[in-house]
Amino acid sequence: MAGSMVVLDPVAPERNEQQQSRRALDGLTGKVVGFIDNGKPNFNHLVDDLAELLVSKHGVASVVKHRKRGSVPVPDAVLKELSAQCDAVITGSGD
């Protein structure tokens, strides 16, 4: 490059190491599905409707719901409890 100089890159590289393989479920029959509701308007209603349909239409055994407080992280104890109880957990992001 004509008239060039060397500068140092200020950007941190992406954390691209995969932490854990996602485990796909071998069907939903008899499984427990969790929802973490982000507390935004209407998401609780969608969670209720999806829960009903997952049970009636897809054979899910039960649904566990946790409604969190706005943009505050879910407490570690709740996360541990959800991962012990559930085969899969669905979280919500957005408005």
Partner: protein
């Protein structure tokens, strides 16, 4: 599940945390305005997709490497144009800049800055949300050079990078929210004088190299290391000017009470940096000349229905008291804690003033703290009076500043500034 406007955030965050194949179901944004019938229809439309995504195997089976730190080696050397205008176009093209001209972070300039710490250049000071990039000492120095910092500013920025990553600060929420939270640096102790950080006239405005470049450097750390790029992982609806730079010192000489760092458990002779995420600044000009009158007008300013702290609770609103107001409060026999107690009591907001949706959010979000919430409930701005933050800063004048809090941060965080000598 993400609403359409948040799908990029969801995708970027999943990748940053090491789950690039996390399946995301998308619902239309804005979501909160849908009617109950529309939601039922939507649930019927997407439930099969959700069932499919839960059972769909990952594209590739990658071995588990949990607990491994990301690459935290030395920064890459990059060839850039020498011409100043071309160089700045290069910075903008790579999104290294905040939109203002920047100083080239040459290896020589960065090395001069690294002399001001005993920590190794590749030492990881913290991981910066939401991309969780590694803030190495060198990377902090590179961003400080870009922002125009003098080399001796580095220890302040290392302490700031530690502070913003403390879990109670909730940087994840601050960086990726639609709120306009900016990170404000408050400098206390001898370092403030040594570096010339302005605590007097116009301390939150323009004109001081230290205030301007320290605040700017932290913003570049949040953007370049934390991945908080506007419109990408930074989802702010409008943002605020404080996101360019936001830094001042406390006017300790004019403060009739103990300074902030002493209140927070540090020795008077230590130097500290405190990080706070205000949603904005609001001038309070009052010529009141007794404590009761001053507190009444400040409390009235704090009590407005869309102040996020009332909705979320758990937050920490802040006040910058002018030396004149602080002296009247002290003269009338009030300690800083008593000022907080009275403001907490007097700024309670009638729940009936909130919109229906905001009221529902308060009922959900603050039930554990306040019990059953009705339209008659008087909502405190924060869980406890001690959560209200106060510093004394500025020059002569009858102006104090109210800074509403982003209620999802429970606490400001203070860290000591460690010097090399």
């Amino acid at each position: 599940m993400c609403s359409t406007a948040f799908t990029g955030l969801g995708r970027g965050q999943a990748k940053a945390l090491g789950y690039p194949e996390l399946p995301i179901a998308v619902v239309p944004h804005p979501f909160g305005i849908r009617t109950r019938d529309e939601l039922r229809r939507l649930a019927r439309e997407i439930v099969d997709d959700i069932a499919r995504l839960l059972c769909e195997p990952a594209l590739q089976d990658t071995p588990v490497v949990a607990g491994r730190l990301p690459s935290d080696g030395r920064a890459a050397r990059v060839e850039a144009p020498e011409d100043l205008e071309e160089l700045n176009r290069f910075f903008v093209g790579r999104r290294w800049s905040d939109g203002l001209p920047a100083i080239p972070p040459t290896p020589e300039r960065v090395a001069r800055m690294l002399h001001h710490t005993r920590r190794a250049p590749d030492e990881v000071v913290s991981m910066i949300a939401p991309a969780y990039g590694a803030a190495t000492v060198e990377r902090i120095a590179i961003n400080a050079v870009l922002a125009g910092c003098y080399p001796e500013y580095l220890p302040v920025l290392i302490a700031a990078a530690e502070a913003v990553a403390a879990p109670e600060f909730n940087l994840q929420g601050i960086q990726s929210t639609t709120n306009p939270g900016a990170v404000w640096l408050i400098i206390n102790g001898p370092i403030a004088r040594r570096l010339g950080v302005n605590s007097g006239n116009n301390c939150l405005g323009q004109g001081s190299w230290a205030n301007a470049t320290l605040g700017r450097a932290l913003r570049l750390v949040l953007q370049n290391i934390g991945g908080g790029l506007p419109g990408e992982l930074d989802r702010a609806t409008q943002g605020q000017p404080g996101k360019y730079t936001f830094c001042c010192a406390e006017n300790e000489e004019a403060n009739p009470w103990e300074p902030l760092h002493v209140e927070r458990g540090f020795a008077p002779e230590s130097s500290t940096v405190t990080v706070v995420p205000p949603l904005g600044t609001w001038n309070m000009n009052t010529h009141a000349k007794d404590a009761g009158d001053i507190l009444r007008v400040i409390a009235d300013t704090m009590a407005f229905p869309v102040g996020s702290d009332y909705v979320y609770g758990g937050g920490a609103p802040w006040l910058v008291l002018s030396p004149e107001h602080a002296h009247i409060l002290k003269r009338d026999g009030l300690s800083k804690l008593e000022v907080k107690r009275r403001l907490w009591e007097q700024s309670k907001l009638a729940a009936t003033r909130l919109s229906a949706k905001d009221f529902a959010r308060v009922q959900n979000g603050r039930r554990a703290e306040l019990g059953e919430i009705t339209r008659d409930t008087m909502l405190p701005i924060s869980p406890r009076p001690e959560c209200i933050g106060i510093i004394v800063a500025g020059g002569p004048g009858t102006h104090s500043v109210y800074m509403p809090g982003s209620g999802y941060t429970r606490s400001a965080v203070t860290r000591e500034v460690v010097l090399a000598d």
